[in-house]
Amino acid sequence: MTTEPQVIEVTLESTLKSVEKAEDLAREACAKAGFSEDDQHRVGMAVHESMINAILHGNKNDASKRVVLKIQVHPDRLEIRIRDQGTGFEPKSVRDPLEAENLLKVSGRGIFLIRTFVDEFRVRKAEGAGTEVTLVKRKYPNDRRSELGG
């Protein structure tokens, strides 16, 4: 028998206030799901950086465009999807911020931090238009039995 995940879904404007709201919702869900304070912080930061990418690089600060945040709380993991209405980006094209020649670069650490703070990070073109990123944080990171669906 599988347990239906609890789902929180909100549509947010392309503003910095939305970044805070998304982060708060993710941290709250994390806390309710029993993640440690450190993990709540990590997931909050990953959502913060993902929201900034969606708003600045996806929606290009266009006030008419929205970001959809969907948080699914499973018994063993938290799955967070963030979908913008932009033209998409290729994460492989992002330079490695740990390379010596990039250490003093002002930007380029957002995706790296997201990858560091969650157990899975996936990017795909959303249906219609835009990009959807999926972040997964597992309660027991070494347990790979529950694979990411859909």
């Binding site: 950086e49 900034i52 250490l103 003093l104 002002v106």
Partner: protein, 119 residues
């Protein structure tokens, strides 16, 4: 919590006491202007006290790096004081602890500028 920054002089060093979050937004440009303002006033020994900063995002990290580079380019030094565990971890993850000089004792941090000046 929004970011606030106050400056004070200790010997030849300007200590900037920062509180709150260093994240993308207006606060970030205020921090940039503050550091650029200090450099314009020839205050090139800058110690950022981050004891009350619990959160820095990638844009905030970029601003610290930008301040470091701007200060170095003008022959000065920008150092960090009293990192919280979360900020320390963040700078470790991003390998920036290899770039910044970091202190947990203000007197030692202040003295380190003197040594650099004499060197």
């Amino acid at each position: 919590m929004t970011m606030k920054a106050k400056t004070r002089r200790v010997d030849s060093v300007t200590v900037v006491d920062v509180t709150g979050r260093i994240t993308l937004g207006e606060d970030l440009s205020e921090l940039r202007q503050l550091i650029r303002g200090l450099l314009a006033q020839d205050q090139k020994n800058i110690l950022l006290n981050l004891a009350d900063v619990n959160y820095i995002d990638s844009s905030g990290i970029g601003e610290l790096v930008s301040g470091f580079t701007a200060t170095s380019n003008q022959g000065g030094q920008l150092k960090l004081l009293n990192l919280t565990r979360k900020v320390h971890d963040l700078l470790q993850i991003t390998k920036l602890l290899t770039v910044f000089e970091v202190y947990d004792d203000e007197a030692k941090a202040i003295a380190s500028f003197g040594k650099a000046t004499r060197a």
